[in-house]
C-alpha cells in the first residue's frame, strides 16, 4: 500500500489545533495518529495536550553525560596525579582533593552540556534531510500539519483539513 504525505497549512494555531483534535478523535483507517507532525514557527506548549504523550528523552542524555564527565574528570586528573612523584607540590598531597573537585565540577558541566546537545540531535533527529513536504511559510507565520497515511485515507484527511480552513493543502505520493 503506497503512503501519501499531506501537508496542510493554517493561519493560526487555534485552527490547527481543532483540526488535530478532530484527526485524533476520528478513527481513520490507514492513518496512524503518531504519523502526524506539527510544524510551527514557534513552540506551542499546548501541543503536548493535543498531540498526546509524545516522549522527549534528552534529560537522560544529560544525566549520563554529566555523570560521565564528572567521573572522567576526577579519575583522569587523579590518575594522572598519582604518577606525580617527581612533580611534588610542597605541603600538598600528591592527589589533592579540593582542586580536583573544582575540575570535576567543570568536567561535570562540560560533559552535561556536550552530551545534552548530542542527545538533542539524536532525539530531535537532527541533522536531517528536509522532509518531502515543507513550506517555508512554517518558519514565518503559518502552522503546518504533516500527516503520513495510506493513499486510501488521503481524501478523508484532506476533507478534515479543509473543514478547518486550511489555507493550503499539499499532497505527495510517498515511496
Amino acid at each position: 500500500m503506497s503512503q501519501h504525505h499531506i501537508l496542510a497549512l493554517y493561519n493560526n494555531f487555534e485552527e490547527a489545533e481543532t483540526a488535530i483534535a478532530e484527526l485524533r478523535a476520528a478513527d481513520i483507517k490507514g492513518f496512524n495518529f503518531d504519523d502526524l507532525t506539527l510544524k510551527s514557527p514557534i513552540e506551542h506548549h499546548e501541543v503536548e495536550e493535543v498531540l498526546g504523550n509524545r516522549p522527549a528523552n534528552v534529560q537522560w542524555f544529560t544525566l549520563g553525560g554529566a555523570l560521565m564527565g564528572g567521573l572522567l574528570g576526577f579519575f583522569l586528573i587523579s590518575g594522572a596525579q598519582a604518577n606525580f612523584y617527581s612533580q611534588l607540590k610542597g605541603g600538598k598531597p600528591i592527589v589533592p582533593l579540593p582542586p580536583n573537585f573544582v575540575l570535576t565540577y567543570e568536567m561535570f558541566i562540560l560533559g552535561g552540556v556536550f552530551i545534552t546537545v548530542l542527545g538533542f540531535l539524536v532525539c530531535a533527529g537532527l541533522p536531517a534531510k528536509r522532509s518531502p513536504l515543507y513550506s517555508a511559510k512554517v518558519s514565518e507565520d503559518q502552522v503546518g500539519i504533516l500527516v503520513k497515511a495510506d493513499a486510501a485515507a488521503a481524501p478523508t484527511l484532506k476533507g478534515i483539513f479543509a473543514k478547518h480552513q486550511a489555507i493550503e493543502i499539499q499532497e505527495e505520493a510517498g515511496k
Binding site: 522527549a56 544529560t62 582542586p99 552540556v113 537532527l126
Partner: protein
C-alpha cells in the same frame, strides 16, 4: 518614552525586519568595522613585537610581573557574564523582555571569552609553548599542574566558551532555518542550510529543543558563576595581601555581571541604531536593562564596601597596607576613579528620566565599563607594588605602550568579531520575538475576555 514591541506586529514583518539587518546596515557599521580593524592591527603589531623581543617590552618587572594583560583578561571574562545572565537566568525566570536582546548578549559572551583567552596567551612569557598547560597525553606522562588556579581557569574558560558557543548555536537553529527559508540563494543560504541542520519546526524538534535549551541554560548559570569564581581564585587562592580575600568570588561575579550589563547597554544602543532595530530593541527593554544594571551596581558597591571593611577590621596588616596604598599611593587617581565610575556614576540610572535617555545612557555605560576595567587593574597592580616584602615594593611601574596597545587592540578584535557576527547572523531572535508577542497577545486577550465576562 518609546513604545514597546507591538503585540499585533505581523510575524512576517518580524522576519523581514530582522533579515534586513543581514543586508544593509547604516554607514556607521562600516565605520565601526574599519576602526575595529585598525585597532586590532595595532594589537597584532604589539604582540608580534613582544613575541620577538621578549616580555620586557611590556615594561613589567620583578616583582611586578603581572600587568594590564591580566587585568584586561578579567575584564573580558567579566563582560562575558551578562550574556548568560540574559539568556539563561532571565530565561529561567520567564522574563520575556530579554527575548529581543539576548542573542547579541550571548554573542557578546562568546566573543569576550575569546578575547579574554587571547590575553592569557599574550601574557605568557613563552607563548610558543602554551600547549604545556593543556592536559594532552604524551610519552613523558607529563601533565599540567591540576592544583593551579590558572589551570582551573583554562578548564573553566574552555567549558564556558564551548558551552556558550553551543548555547548560542542551539538557540539560533530556528532562526537559521528562517534565514535558510527566506534568503536569496547564495553562499549565505548554503551556510544557513548547513547550520540549520534541517530544522523544520516539527513538534518533535520543538519538544526536544525546549528541554535542551532549558538544560543547557541550567548548566550555564552555575558554570558562569564558577568561571568568575575561579578567576577570583587566581587571586583569592594566592597568599598575597589584597588578593587573599574570602569575599573575592562573589565580588568578582557581581563585578562581572555589572560590567556585562553596562556593555549590553552600550551595544544595545549601537545595534539599535546601526541595524535599525528601533522596533524590537525598544526603550522599555532598555529601561529594564538599565534598572537591572543599577541594581547590580549597588550589589557591587556593597560587596566593594564589604571587602574594604573586611580588610580594615582584620588584623592582616599587609592587606591593610595595600588598601591604604591603593587609596593614597601612586594608584590613587585610578582607584578613586574606579570608585567614582563604579559607584557614583550609576546613581544617574536611578532617575527615570535618564533610564531612557540614549545619549546619557551611552555615556554612562561607557563610564561604568571604564570603572570596571579600572577595578580589575586596581585588583592586580597594587598588590604587586606593595606586597608582603617591603624591600621589593615598587611604586614606579607603569605599563608600556605595548601593553596599552594590546588592550586597545582587544577592543578592536572584540568589535570586529561582534560586528561581523551581527551582520552574518540575526542578532535579534526572530522566533522568540514571535513567541513574545504571541504570548503577550494571548495574555491580553484572556485579560479582555475576563473583563468581558464580568
Amino acid at each position: 518614552m518609546g513604545k514597546d514591541i507591538r503585540e499585533d506586529i505581523s510575524w512576517a514583518k518580524i522576519n523581514e525586519d530582522v533579515l534586513r539587518s543581514l543586508e544593509s546596515p547604516r554607514r556607521l557599521y562600516w565605520v565601526i568595522l574599519l576602526v575595529a580593524m585598525l585597532a586590532f592591527s595595532v594589537g597584532i603589531g604589539c604582540e608580534v613585537y613582544q613575541y620577538n623581543v621578549g616580555m620586557g617590552v611590556a615594561n613589567l618587572d620583578n616583582p611586578h610581573v603581572w600587568g594590564l594583560y591580566i587585568a584586561t583578561f578579567i575584564f573580558w571574562i567579566g563582560m562575558s557574564h551578562s550574556g548568560t545572565l540574559l539568556s539563561a537566568i532571565l530565561h529561567l525566570m520567564h522574563a520575556d523582555w530579554r527575548k529581543p536582546i539576548y542573542r547579541f548578549a550571548e554573542a557578546m559572551t562568546t566573543f569576550s571569552l575569546m578575547t579574554a583567552g587571547l590575553f592569557v596567551m599574550v601574557h605568557l612569557g613563552r607563548l610558543w609553548q602554551f600547549y604545556y598547560s593543556l592536559p594532552y597525553p604524551n610519552e613523558r606522562a607529563l601533565w599540567p599542574n591540576f592544583q593551579s588556579p590558572l589551570l582551573w581557569d583554562a578548564m573553566a574558560i574552555f567549558t564556558y566558551l564551548s558551552s556558550s558557543v553551543i548555547f548560542l548555536f542551539i538557540g539560533m537553529i530556528p532562526d537559521l532555518a528562517i534565514c535558510r527559508d527566506h534568503l536569496h540563494p547564495g553562499w549565505r543560504k548554503k551556510l544557513y542550510t548547513l547550520l540549520a541542520l534541517g530544522w523544520e519546526g516539527t513538534d518533535r524538534q520543538w519538544r526536544n529543543f525546549r528541554i535542551t535549551y532549558l538544560t543547557v541554560a541550567c548548566f550555564l548559570i552555575p558554570l558562569a558563576v564558577s568561571v568568575h569564581s575561579i578567576v577570583a581564585s587566581d587571586f583569592a587562592m594566592s597568599q598575597q595581601p589584597g588578593w587573599h580575600v574570602t569575599s573575592f568570588p562573589p565580588y568578582f561575579v557581581a563585578g562581572a555581571l555589572y560590567s556585562g550589563c553596562a556593555a549590553i547597554v552600550t551595544l544595545f544602543i549601537i545595534l539599535r541604531y546601526v541595524f535599525k532595530f528601533e522596533e524590537y530593541m525598544t526603550l522599555p527593554i532598555l529601561k529594564k536593562t538599565v534598572r537591572l544594571t543599577f541594581a547590580i551596581a549597588m550589589v557591587w558597591t556593597y560587596l566593594n564596601a564589604v571587602e574594604f571593611a573586611a580588610v580594615w577590621y582584620s588584623h592582616d596588616q599587609a592587606a591593610k597596607d595595600v588598601l591604604i596604598q591603593k587609596a593614597t599611593g601612586p594608584y590613587a587617581p585610578f582607584w578613586w576613579m574606579m570608585i567614582f565610575c563604579g559607584s557614583v556614576v550609576p546613581l544617574t540610572l536611578a532617575f527615570k528620566r535618564f533610564q531612557t535617555n540614549i545619549p546619557v545612557l551611552f555615556a554612562v555605560s561607557l563610564l561604568l565599563n571604564l570603572g570596571m576595567w579600572l577595578e580589575r587593574w586596581m585588583i592586580v597592580a597594587p598588590t604587586f607594588s606593595h606586597g608582603y616584602y617591603p624591600w621589593t615594593w615598587d611604586h614606579n611601574q607603569w605599563p608600556s605602550l605595548i601593553q596599552w596597545g594590546m588592550v586597545f587592540g582587544s577592543f578592536g578584535w572584540f568589535a570586529l568579531l561582534f560586528m561581523v557576527f551581527c551582520k552574518v547572523f540575526p542578532s535579534v531572535s526572530m522566533y522568540e520575538v514571535k513567541e513574545m508577542v504571541y504570548h503577550r497577545r494571548l495574555a491580553s486577550e484572556s485579560q479582555a475576555a475576563a473583563k468581558g465576562a464580568h
